[in-house]
Amino acid sequence: MNLLLLFISAAIVNNFVLTYFLGICPFVGVSKRVSSAVSMGLAVMFVMTITAAVTWLIYHLLLVPYQIEILEYVSFILVIASLVQLVEMFIKKVSKPLYDTLGIFLPLITTNCAILGLALFSVLREYSFIESLVFGIGAGAGFTLALVIMAGIREELELSNIPKPFRGAGITMIVAGSLALAFMGFAGLISM
């Protein structure tokens, strides 16, 4: 039951994009079409889940026993970068259609701060292995949700008459503000 609460908290109440501002770059960059938003969201969710598992193992089985926690950031970012590379090669080998859909989005995930943020939060909150795994899936689902909603709104925005200085990034930020406002409605749902 606790794990379910953790999942909902990570996905909706403390949405990574709208309350922690993690993963804003792809949120602004890849939210023009719903179809590409779905692909990006799924790719991020996939990498997040694996990252959560691998960084937990590295931190608790390697860094803590040898007392080299100071290498936390360096090792995490290296793990994430190589993990993205591995996932890319794996998908290419196993499922060519999926690889073509995800295409350029895969390498971009390395610089997505939501992934590193996830690893840092799991350490900070002292999650167990299973908890970090659920946290990773939840955060990924929340990221996908925010990205798809945003893409839906932006498809409509293209048809409306926006003052010129606000076209593009300006209006996206303001819409994201309204979305964050809406998601604040969930705030009292779970207190974690």
Binding site: L18, T19, Y20, F21, L22, G23, I24, C25, V28, I70, L71, E72, Y73, V74, I77, L78, A81, T111, N112, C113, I115, L116, G117, L120, F121, L124, P163, K164, P165, F166, A169, G170, I171, T172, M173, I174, A176, G177, S178, A180, L181, M184
Partner: protein, 204 residues
């Protein structure tokens, strides 16, 4: 790259306005939004990021002929992560309160696209002196936006500026400004304002 070298003064000033990292290039948005609920947090974040940016620019422009092209991104990231660790431990030791307020956003400087972007676009192609000037300009442009954003949000959200009361009791604080939605709204309006001023050909 460029045939005629750009004067150093211009190299420095471009980061402040014409190529401002946040308002014009939309780089480093995560920390910009996350830590600007007060002016002092924005300033601390800006300074920490500038420190990492300048140090890694120096090291990378020195090593630009040594690092093999194929593994350059991984190399840059390791260098950046090292300086971020230094900045993080420094803040935790000397300014524990600010370190606590910024939380995981200090380690997240590693993935700030502003820093990696400048290394890839500038330091890997230019000498040390020029790279320092570029990093300094970009860093100051980043600090400028963070402090402006933090000030607006702090004044409207908690009626103070750098923890000094500026608005009287008559003003009912807009709680929303220090919460996440306020960050998005203020930055959206600032980007719009920047574009509007640019269109009217305001040059510095």
């Amino acid at each position: 790259m460029a045939k005629t070298p750009i004067p150093l003064r211009k190299e420095f000033l471009k980061g402040l306005w014409n190529d401002n990292p946040v308002l014009r290039m939309l780089l480093g948005l995560c920390p910009t939004l996350a830590v600007t609920n007060s002016a002092i947090n924005g300033l601390a974040m800006g300074l920490a990021t500038t420190f990492v940016l300048i140090s890694s620019s120096i090291l990378i422009s020195l090593l630009r002929k040594v690092i093999p092209h194929q593994v350059r991104i991984a190399g840059y990231i390791v260098i950046i992560a090292t300086f971020v660790t230094v900045a993080d431990k420094f803040l935790a030791a000397y300014l524990p309160e600010i370190s606590k307020a910024l939380g995981p956003y200090v380690p997240l400087i590693v993935v700030n696209c502003l820093i990696l972007g400048r290394q890839e676009a500038f330091s890997s192609k230019n000498g040390v002196g020029r790279s320092i000037i570029d990093a300094l300009g970009m860093g100051l442009g980043f600090i400028f936006v963070l402090v402006v954003l933090g000030s607006i949000r702090e004044i409207l959200g908690s009626t103070t500026l750098f923890n000094i009361q500026v608005l009287g009791d008559w003003f009912n604080p807009w709680m929303i400004m220090i919460l996440p939605p306020g960050a998005f709204l203020t930055l959206g309006l600032l980007i719009g304002l920047g574009n509007w001023l640019n269109e009217r050909k305001v040059k510095i």
